[in-house]
């Protein structure tokens, strides 16, 4: 049947052809050829504005998809449509790449940037020739080299797509003439229109070739420039959105709680619980629970026993049964463990001593001297008690003390023995907390429960590794300060690069530096100031630069003033302030929702976490102000006379470098003479604040000034006490200025270096592209030929 059909279809076509030929013949004979047989339907298309053109291209992409489906289904298509399908494929492939790479990125900004990069690349491909070639050429020559037309089959094409297929009949004669006029083609040339048409194609070809030659370099460069500009915006957007979302999460907590566990989760949950009915809980238990849900997302950034406290603080009566009950069971087991740990958490020296002696007997040894070879003797109970002292002891503390005094155990593990005395709880506790934290970190994003919502909120506001309001604040302070210090590239490289030796730096001086050095004697004669001596260390440099700011007078740049320095950093503190209010209200909503919390420990822990992060940022900023205040006051002779050089040096040491590890019980050790140390503290935090600094902070009533005063008072007491026994105090010291500066330098150096290379390359390629257009569209020679020989002979 089909074969026959084919043939009859053939016959049908043939008979149609015959009919058409007959009609054509008739029309030619009868209507004396005055009418065209097939009226061409092609037309030039309007040039759209960017928005319309975007819409048109979206519609066209829709058509491409339709054509694709048709081509796949029927095998019928044409070259133009098939060519356009390639663009659809390019977009699908690009989206595939962006989607996949996004899964490999950690922060939402990095994820988002994969898509931004893809979109920017696509846009750059279209816009590069449009902006830097077609548009300038339009201004110069009066026509669009990418002018679109629609052919008789309804296909859209560039009129200059094929240099040897020229649909010039679509242009009106006047349009050609107008272009000729604009481009000063001699009016007395006989074949002026033909010359102009040829010239239009020649110019278009040149422009298109230029686009082809430059696009490969320009498109990736332009994309990277767009991306580095967009990234900052995207970070801001993501941070703000995360805070908003987390706040909404707190508000909707009631609803989230009411969600029942799905079937699979509850089945798996029951399986784990029944397995552990008789067994003691171990890390594995918590890990497996973490696979199911993350009840403790909140404690991601918490440490030690606080984590367990959080669980004991939970009350689930408010929530719906399924999910909450599941969590309750986990919590109860954890509480059980916690209580056991709590019960034997601390002991006194007496009980520890008797425990150790009974456990180890005379295996317990103490080394007499400092050196490794000095003789060891058996440690008796009295001496041990003396070493341990009077305070409350926990396993960690005991271990630390004994180690410091060279106490060892013959054929045994001191640590295990001590933990044995403390009921082994510390070690187990750690294991539990570690396990909980392990899955909490892994699954934080998928936290489904109340505490998860709170954790997300805290993270959005104060998360350290995530993009958060306070991380942004810290980065802002860091880069504002580094910019103000105004280090050169050469200096930054030296300050951050610990791997290079000094000699090598000398050999890698830039050419300009070398020339400057060569010219120095000449310049000196000409009356130029001797250049500043190069600072050897970052510390020297920072002190010198802060001093310069302190010395500022009206005749210098306003950016180097005390006022500018303080306000520029205050900006970032203010930005964080803006988010503190929603933070407080978010917290309140949380408490309101879970009104029956046994105690407020979850909220307390979280607000502690948030506050600590904020205090740390404030400390960092205040420390900068304190340094400036110190240098400012040191300018006065009376201050310099009141304090010895040693005191001043110690004060600078403290403000630029002093640090403590951010855990409890770290000491701020004073070096040398206690009297000097005391004097230094007075100079730093005790004396009256400099007037100009005070003014820049808004005077007596300024919030910043009040904060600064509080900061100084706190520092004075902390440094005087020399003991820091909680995390919040530790972080309130702020980051040492030298560390802050070095970190800032590292960032600035890399970014600047990258920009120096690729920013210059981008400017270069734009320059070349624009410059090349001066050589496009020259027509003098052709005009001469046309004049002399006429169109037919001119080639």
């Amino acid at each position: 049947m089909n074969g026959v059909n084919n043939i009859s279809a053939q016959n049908q076509i043939i008979s149609q052809n015959l009919l058409r030929e007959k009609n054509l013949f008739n029309s030619l004979i009868l209507q004396s050829g005055s009418k065209q047989v097939d009226q061409p339907k092609g037309k030039l298309l309007a040039t759209y504005d960017p928005v319309t053109s975007l819409m048109v291209s979206a519609v066209d992409t829709g058509k491409d998809v339709r054509n694709f489906v048709k081509a796949i289904a029927t095998g019928k298509s044409d070259d133009t449509s098939l060519g356009r399908m390639n663009d659809v494929g390019l977009k699908i492939g690009g989206l595939g790449i962006a989607s996949y790479l996004a899964t490999k990125r950690v922060t939402s900004t990095a994820k988002g940037m994969e898509f931004v990069g893809f979109a920017a690349f696509m846009a750059a491909m279209t816009l590069w020739p449009k902006i830097f070639i077609n548009f300038p050429m339009y201004l110069k020559h009066g026509f669009h080299i990418d002018q679109k037309y629609q052919d008789s089959n309804g296909k859209k094409k560039d009129f200059s797509l094929d240099n040897q297929y020229r649909p010039l009949d679509l242009w009106k004669a006047e349009e050609i003439d107008a272009i000729a006029d604009k481009n000063h083609i001699d009016k007395d040339i006989k074949d002026r229109r033909e010359l102009t048409e040829n010239w239009i194609y020649k110019t278009s070809l040149q422009g298109k070739t230029l686009a082809t030659l430059t696009a490969g370099i320009a498109v990736p460069l332009a994309t990277s420039m767009v991306c580095s500009a967009a990234e900052k915006k995207l970070i801001d957007f993501n941070i703000n959105r995360a805070v908003e979302k987390a706040t909404a999460g707190l508000e909707n907590m009631g609803k989230t709680l009411a969600k029942p566990l799905d079937k699979n989760t509850s089945k798996a949950f029951e399986a784990i619980l029944s397995e552990y009915k008789a067994k003691p809980l171990d890390g594995n238990f918590y890990s497996r629970l973490g696979e199911l849900f993350n009840p403790l997302g909140v404690i991601k950034n918490e440490i030690d026993g606080d984590s367990i406290k959080l669980i004991s603080g939970m009350n689930y009566e408010q929530s719906s049964k399924n999910t909450a009950e599941a969590i309750k069971e986990v919590a109860e087991r954890a509480i059980e463990r916690f209580n056991a740990a709590q019960a034997v958490k601390t002991q006194n020296a007496e009980s520890v001593t008797s425990g150790l002696v009974s456990l180890l007997g005379d295996k317990l040894k103490i080394r007499g001297g400092i050196s490794d070879t000095s003789a060891t003797t058996v440690l008796d109970a009295e001496k041990l008690k003396g070493i341990l002292g009077n305070g409350d002891l926990n396993a960690q503390k005991v271990l630390k003390i004994l180690k410091a005094r060279n106490v060892t155990v013959e054929d045994g593990d001191l640590k295990a023995a001590i933990e044995g005395i403390f009921g082994g709880t510390e070690g187990q506790m750690k294991e539990v907390v570690k396990a909980i934290r392990g899955y909490a970190a892994k699954d934080l994003k998928e936290a489904r429960l109340t505490t998860g919502a709170l954790g997300r909120f805290a993270n959005a506001l104060a998360g350290k590794r995530a993009e958060s309001v306070y991380t942004r604040g810290y980065n802002g302070i860091s880069s504002a300060f580094t910019d103000r210090m105004n280090p050169s590239m050469e200096q930054m490289r030296r300050f951050i690069d610990t791997s290079r030796i000094t000699d090598e730096i000398k050999t890698t001086k830039s050419l300009i530096t070398r020339i400057k050095e060569l010219l120095r004697p000449v310049a000196k004669k000409a009356g130029e100031k001797e250049p500043e001596k190069e600072c050897k260390t970052a510390e020297e440099f920072v002190i010198r630069q802060i001093k310069k700011i302190a010395e500022w007078k009206n005749d210098k740049k306003p950016e180097d003033s005390v006022d500018y320095f303080i306000k520029n950093i205050k900006k970032h503190l203010d930005e964080m302030d803006k988010f503190d209010r929603p933070a407080l209200s978010g917290m309140k909503k949380f408490t309101d929702t879970l009104a029956t919390l046994k105690d407020d420990s979850i909220r307390t822990a979280m607000s502690n976490f948030i506050r600590r992060s904020r205090v740390s940022n404030d400390g960092t900023a205040m420390r900068l102000f304190a340094a400036l205040d110190l240098e400012k006051r040191l300018l006065s002779t009376s201050v310099r006379q009141n304090y010895s050089q040693k005191v001043i040096k110690t004060a600078q040491d403290i403000i630029y470098r002093a640090t403590t590890i951010t855990s409890a019980e770290s000491l701020l050790v004073s070096k040398g003479d206690p009297e000097v140390y005391k004097q230094a503290l007075k100079l730093l935090f005790g004396d009256k604040i400099d007037k100009e600094v005070k003014g820049a902070m808004g005077g007596e009533l300024g919030d910043l000034f009040k904060d600064f005063k509080n900061f100084r008072a706190k520092m004075l007491s902390l440094y005087n006490r020399q003991i820091i026994d909680n995390t919040e105090d530790a972080v309130s010291l702020g980051e040492p200025i030298i560390n802050l500066f070095k970190k800032g330098c590292k960032k600035k150096y890399n970014t600047t270096k990258w920009m120096q290379i690729f920013g210059a390359a981008t400017v270069g390629i734009i320059g070349i592209t624009l410059l090349a257009q001066f050589f496009i569209g020259k027509s003098k020679k052709e005009q001469e030929l046309y004049k002399n020989k006429g169109a037919k002979n001119a080639v």
Partner: protein, 351 residues
């Protein structure tokens, strides 16, 4: 027989002519002046690419920049290779060129994504090529239609200056590069050289399942070829980019971040080159595994990465399989009761 043509453009800039050294038509010298199908040899594709690249730089681009009237669409399409190469180089440079200038720790850290980017660019190109090739090969095996069948085109240009005698240049095309105008004439000519105009169509008709020789096989075969080619080209336009995406996804796996790191730092360049294929092979295998499972750089399973990775792999393989099957579906002559219902002796008028 590759005829050279020293063509000067309108501003009389002397330029070398395109050389097409890969074809020698010794048997039929008269063909040298006409378009004709040429025999495919191994590595022809690679040689054509290198040749095109050479011509792009020394011939087509200067011709285009000077606005030569002889610059044609083939040359314009040929030049499409330039942004691919410069673009790849720029992308690699963006992620690598500044690295050695960074501070020490960052230098080390930047090396990893830099290597992945480099591998990504290369594997994108390889993936795209492979995606096209696989469908071409599949369709060729099923139908006998070789979409890569090359022909040499002799182009007569306008003289570039009065009295210019050297006006022919050679171009290398594919018979089926246009579905609107496949070069049936060249297929006919190829047959005529051997005394049977329809030789090619007979071959395809046989593949279609016609046991007897058809009277006018071109009538039957030509529309079928168009259909197959159209379907295949459409499928390739999506499939090749999926292959390219899979290539990039492979490059984003851990092994490719270390692809240029050698344990033995003192190894000579020759030693490194010798060890590279093995390293590359194991990197590809390892990467394919982690792309499938979704394991991330720290060895932790990423749920989303696994889902998208699997989807990508399946979509890529499926697009190739579908492309081949769909292109060949309907190619076979339909049979009724095992017998082809067609009257091969029936006379038709050639239209």
């Amino acid at each position: 027989m590759a005829k050279t043509a020293a063509v000067n453009n309108s501003i009389n800039l002397a330029q070398p002519s395109p050389q097409s050294g890969y074809i020698a038509q010794k048997k039929n010298p008269h063909l040298a002046n006409e378009d004709h199908i040429i025999k495919k040899t191994p590595l022809l594709g690679a040689r054509v690419t290198i040749d095109k690249l050479k011509n792009n730089i020394f011939y087509y681009a200067p011709k285009g920049m000077s606005g030569s009237v002889n610059s044609n669409f083939y040359e314009y399409l040929s030049m499409g290779l330039i942004p691919y190469i410069t673009g790849s180089a720029t992308l690699i440079a963006l992620f690598n060129a500044a690295n050695k200038l960074y501070a020490h720790q960052d230098k080390v850290a930047a090396k990893f994504p830099g290597a992945q980017m480099g591998a990504g660019v290369v594997l994108y190109a390889v993936g795209k090529w492979l995606g096209n090739k696989l469908i071409n090969k599949g369709v060729h095996a099923q139908t006998g239609i070789d979409m890569d069948m090359p022909y040499k085109k002799i182009v007569n240009e306008l003289p570039s200056y009065p009295g210019d005698k050297n006006t022919t240049v050679e171009e290398l095309h594919r018979v089926y590069e246009s579905v609107d105008f496949p070069r049936w004439d060249l297929l006919n000519k190829m047959g005529e050289e051997k005394g049977n105009r329809y030789e090619y169509y007979d071959k395809i008709a046989k593949k279609m399942g016609y046991k007897e020789q058809l009277n006018s096989p071109d009538q039957e075969v030509q529309p079928k070829i168009k259909e197959v080619v159209t379907k295949a080209v459409a499928a390739k336009s999506i499939s090749s980019f999926l292959w390219a995406a899979t290539g990039v996804a492979l490059a984003a796996q851990k092994p490719f971040g270390y692809i240029l790191n050698y344990d033995n730092k003192a190894m000579s360049l020759a030693g490194k080159l010798a060890a590279f294929p093995k390293k590359l092979g194991s990197a590809l295998v390892e990467s394919a595994k982690t792309l499938f499972t979704g394991e991330n750089l720290e060895g932790i399973m990423g749920k989303k990465a696994g889902i998208i990775g699997k989807t990508l792999i399946f979509a890529t393989l499926a697009s190739t399989a579908f492309g081949i099957i769909n292109a060949c579906a309907g190619f076979k002559a339909k049979k009724t009761n095992g017998k082809v219902v067609i009257d091969p002796k029936k006379e038709v008028i050639e239209g």
